[in-house]
Symmetry: C2
Subunit: 85 residues, 2 copies
DNA sequence: TATATATTTAGACAAATGTCTAAATAATAA
DNA sequence: TTATTATTTAGACATTTGTCTAAATATATA
């Protein structure tokens, strides 16, 4: 739970998730959307992976990232209990 | 959005929200639940207030805190769009 | 008024975070 | 093999964060 909230606590990482909602992207394609160095984006992707919010697959020299929405359910559940009663 | 995720990115603050789900509590009552100094708890409450996740009302020498679940809806909405398609 | 209780503010400090550049690793192409 | 492209790792650095103690503020009580 901690890892997920930590991963979501950054505007850049949340935007990455929004990009991946539309389609899978390579690390380079993701980096193109931001005014941030590639190593920094790589670090953001690592945190998203640690939270299991994204998955990655090596395809040749590229690494393709995908959104993993099943993890989002955990937060949804936690937030919904807050609203109960 | 940033303020809300920032507020949620801390175990102590999430536990405070869970406590307030059950009932309103004074700052002192909240502090009793943790092994953390009262000033630190006060600071956590301030961040939760900044995010509008809690409201506070002065009652005599006490300050009573309450959960504000309407803000939770904003995050729920954001998370649900991630899951669409 | 003087004292006690509840809470916040101020300021310090160590740890965590986001960013960068330079270098390393891995795969493709010449 | 050598050069090029894609990505990550390593290490540095400034900023933010969570915590503390001491002091300030506000209310209630003797």
């Amino acid at each position: 739970m901690n890892t997920i909230f930590k991963a979501l606590n950054d505007e850049t990482r949340r935007e990455i998730l929004e990009l991946l909602r539309k389609s899978d992207l390579t690390a380079g394609e993701i980096a193109e959307h931001f005014n941030i160095s590639k190593p920094s984006i790589s670090h953001h992707l690592d945190l998203l992976k640690q939270a299991d919010l994204v998955t990655s697959e090596k395809k040749g020299q590229f690494v393709v990232y995908s959104l993993n929405t099943t993890i989002v359910d955990d937060i949804l559940k936690w937030l919904l209990t807050l609203k109960k009663q």
